[in-house]
Symmetry: D4
Subunit: 217 residues, 8 copies
């Protein structure tokens, strides 16, 4: 079986975002082969997402040493893109259970060379935590809002900032919140205007959406 995936290297030129390897569901052999090609110093900085710690741990050590791996976000990259001179992105998350998604967004921004900062534990059940940081958050050029359960943070943020907002519902929760459909529906129905939404747990996509904004500054 041949795992020689056709890489779309012209994509960066076309849309400003290099191709990425989504690891979940790919055979282990294919992942190892890809990891062996894009490590530190390869000249091709590629981002690996949804790369589970137990999978990465099974790769040969010689390959692993070429990567900056982050277990909570399940991301790895050898090199990053060159740092961008302008534009910075805030990642605001509601609770501890949302961290893995917030960090996937942050790590993608790091890989793309975009300045960023994470603001955690801003859930609306304790509004004062958000209020204290609002002024700083409003100095960023785009906001990524990560929340599960009722996802009320997205609407509250939407009423407090003029910046582009990309909401990411998370699969954290149980009962009707299980899997993130409640959070997704809540975000899409937001009573605040102009809040745009990504697929459930798609921190990577939110970072790319924010990058499209930063790229145009």
């Amino acid at each position: 079986m041949d795992h020689g995936i056709l890489f779309d290297h012209s994509r960066t030129a076309r849309i400003g975002l290099p191709e990425t390897v989504f690891c979940e569901g790919k055979p282990f052999e294919a992942l190892v082969e890809l990891l062996s090609r894009f490590g530190n110093g390869s000249g091709h900085p590629i981002l690996f997402t949804r790369l589970a710690p137990e999978v990465f741990a099974q790769a040969p050590e010689a390959i692993r040493t070429g990567y900056d791996y982050h277990p909570l976000s399940r991301t790895a990259f050898g090199d990053t893109l060159p740092p961008k001179a302008t534009g910075k992105v805030a990642v605001v998350s509601a609770g501890t259970s949302d961290s893995f998604v917030a960090w996937e967004a942050a790590r993608t921004l790091a890989y793309l060379g975009i300045e960023h900062k994470i603001f955690e534990d801003c859930g609306v059940a304790g509004l004062w935590r958000l209020a204290e940081r609002l002024e700083e958050i409003n100095t960023f050029d785009a906001l990524i809002v990560v929340a599960g359960l009722d996802a009320a943070l997205t609407s509250v943020m939407g009423g407090l900032t003029p910046k582009p907002i990309f909401g990411v519902p998370t699969s954290a929760g149980y009962g009707v919140a299980q899997g993130g459909k409640a959070a997704l529906a809540s975000m899409l129905s937001s009573c605040a205007p102009g809040v745009a939404i990504m697929n459930i747990d798609n921190g990577y996509g939110a970072a790319c959406a924010a990058a499209r904004v930063v790229n145009g500054l």
Copy 2:
């Protein structure tokens, strides 16, 4: 065809809440017969809910004059229960589209003889409107929170008050919010503790739930 519904007159003794006529889906002849029995001065104060204006308008005038009818909430009653000496309930709603449900709750409280007040336009996209009224809202013994779309108001209220809260999702909205399922899921997933939820648009039920609390004071 006989419309002689068996009334459960012992219910008030048993659970403290008299039987009610839910009018939607009942044949017009049956409704007229029931209206003819429970008007002003009949000695049996009965609440009619979901009684559409165009239906009520077709009832004979002699019957209509025996009723206090409120078109927005689609409720009617002849007499109310005796006023309760203790306990009062706040009805807090997010937007104008939620009014018909907030008023169904308020009218049910009026019928049950419970002191109450409506606080409208408290949606979280403009938090200052809620903040200005919070102190007054917290003087009530139970809160009914009515909201559609993302229903974020329920979670915000849940983090700001120690009172019993009964959330009512509304069917206002379109797309994924259509029919109220998004609001319902959002409320059930609330990140604030101890918020209890009613069926979509069930302002009547929320008033009954609040009445159960007031009855125990």
Copy 3:
């Protein structure tokens, strides 16, 4: 990676309910750090919910000895809040499969210092079991009704008691009952008036809702 969660210690003052740690989905290291801070005698009585036996068993013994841990309900706390002088809550459940939720509610009430009692095996397929205990159940100030499958117990209870009722659907069941959506829909559609509902399996939330009622007595 830092797990220093921002605790909302002012929450007790604001809403009468202290913050809680929902353990499912949190990294093990974060849980151990939190457990190490709030054990018996720490002066900060914190409730841990959804703490699986196999996870708790892996914590260092020195930490575990500071906790009252209950495996069926998956709850742990070091100290409880001071006992409340007034108000008591009944937890009524339908079948053995619903016990883990009924006990999560009961343990939360214990932690909050609220008097309570569990009434198990009251499912409607054998109505005499409920009938025998009804009089005693009606001496409590609020009822938590826990049921899966058709959740018919909620409606039957709603027709037999004037007390505040908080229904908790459980995920017990298979086929269309799998995951608790059938029980949830059934409870929200209850033909009995004024029954308020929590998310699936949310025994903790029902206890908080009942505590809001007891707090106001």
Copy 4:
């Protein structure tokens, strides 16, 4: 356009149930042609279901006089099948909103020549109404239980009778109960053993299922 439907006249011999015309969605011309063929005295007793009053009213009077039409159940037939000597069926319904389905079942039984009786307003929010009639209900050979909303009546009946039970969820209700899916799921999840279920609003099918039982006595 030709509406000459191929009638399956051998069906009665094969399965003991004659073919029926489900009128909803059929063109008016086709219905009139069919009605013109099977009226009183035609020798072919055919049942028409879901025949709306406003549609029947538009048929020529000469055709209408050949039919026994019942508007609430939306059923019509010219002649009935010969009365059966043995077996009788009880139709038990929860509330007034369920009447149109209970009557569709009763009318189908009448057309099939089966003895039957309707017991209305037996909903579980007032259990005494059911208790008073239970002994009589248990003299029937098969029970049809019609209920919407939480459909709790099915489970309660299932725990009180040894007879075959056919549950019919109704589309009566609003919010999560709208369209009958909540009642259907509740019935399928019944905690009482051996309760079999029909499609939503399918009173006709329940009567046929009961007829299969009566046919075997």
Copy 5:
């Protein structure tokens, strides 16, 4: 923790069906205690359903020897009820993947003392297999039809037999058929009249429904 479940021993007298232990989701200790009470010769013939082989295998051997255990159907009983003199039930299934449900029905019938026979591999993609056995199937007093995927067998059987039919959709399948919702919807929508349906995989319930018919003969 006490697992002393309240047994409803009067149920047999009331509805002709003894109480049953549904094992899935019950703690192992509770199951062992129950198994220790109702083995062969105990005088209380109790049926255990959804008792997984790996769970049963962990029970002490002294307990296991008191039971007739059947792994495919995951059922166990010590003694059976006395054989009934009249009435027999056919269990007809579509494919091999449906066997575990067909056997749960058959084993329940065995436990209830009712004569029965299984007819497997009757799926409609090869109609001749059904045609060959139709005459024999029609000698039974009630039919249980077990099918997954499109569940077309239920409709075909419904057009070929006058007997009471209880359809059981199975969870066998993948894609849209996964979990049995497609089969359930197909059965409830059957174009054949008077086919009554059970919850997904509920072979036990179908046997009880058939027993209600046989009990009345």
Copy 6:
């Protein structure tokens, strides 16, 4: 407002199927303008689908006379494509309620110049009606099977013919069958191999799929 739709006239060359006007949801003025351009003799044979009788009736008579309009299928065309020399398609439908979809398929085939025949009332509740026509049906090169409710006909046909089969679920039905989702799921789950499925009520698409087969003969 300009309704000048960009027609894709090269589509016929590219994929062998000319562009079509789906009329539902288009403004009346736009439809009239389009109808005025493609009538009999215009040299551009265009098919109009989902053109409701009450809409077509409002078009000017001068325009209507240029069209062959068929109300049951809601289709219109001026000219047809030239008749194809080879290949013929059978349209097999289950019940009268499925006719509007079967005729949409047939009319599309007529417009495409493909020989075809409709076989109606072949539902599986009366298998003999299908059996009588099977030999003739098997002389066609591709089959379109139209069925609602349980859609069992698709599986039965799939086990009786080697020809390409395109199943079209219809929205006919009520309860769980309402809107056609049950029929769609049943068809996609068919136990017969190699049956391919179209969107609900998409008779037009099925005709195009069959045309792709006929085009390759």
Copy 7:
């Protein structure tokens, strides 16, 4: 009944987007009162969305003359905000059925004073129509992509442009596409990176999201 809605006039200062009146579901009297306050020259340019032609037509002529009303998009405004000096937005739509949403976006941009252009009929079934316009589309600062059915246009655009993209699924379609859920799921699942999504038919929201981008240039 008082319709005096609390306007959030500070919103423009806070988030750069003035408050808007969503007309669907609001009582006619309330709409007329609002229209009477914000017409041409009132000094308060307010946007009315979802204002149906038949509703607007019933307003007094004196009020209507103060508004620029656009029936396809169902929008009205008296004055617009001052034109912005920088930034322009492209609205790209797939088919004629999507026009009402594309125009709601365009009209909102007009009201907000943002330069924009609509590109219609770019659906992927005829890729050449999109290819011809791609270069021009890429001169805009943000793109709104409006599509129903399979919504494939969003993914194709996402692979061809580096600009921020806001996808709006439309409710156009039938069968599984009915109501827009298929298009919404398709857009959220887009295989192109960084595409952000709005609620179904929410052209207004997409314009606000694009305005947030333009505001930051």
Copy 8:
């Protein structure tokens, strides 16, 4: 327990497609017995699908050596059918995650003796990869298009080729794409005409559908 499945050996004669063993969910003993009967040289070439590598590995080596087993597609066969002289099928897939389905289709075609070729990595986010191969793809007689996520490839292909197309949605993806329902809905809603769809992950079925086309050439 007897696993003697009734094989439908006449099926090949009837519909041109031999019976197949779907292994998922079948007991291990039954699979081994079946594998022991149909290995290389048995004279009965049978295809086994959904045969997991870990299951196949547990079969006795003497049995395994009689099979051509392919782990990615989870298929096995001893012999193939005789090669067909005419007709060839292209399998076009969008991404690496879709390979297991594309290979199930290809392996089924190999077993059926039909010439075929796989075209991988043709996803629409990089249209040039598809464009380069389009001419070759159009030399095949039928196309199988395999795609997950937004499944946009199906619509794009449908606009570029006149050949019969069978779309197979895959379960690859997360969030709203999880399980393949988004891809399925997108394919069924395709804006390209005449695209027919299979159940999620049903590569086997698509190969059978294509075989029905090839059989008729």
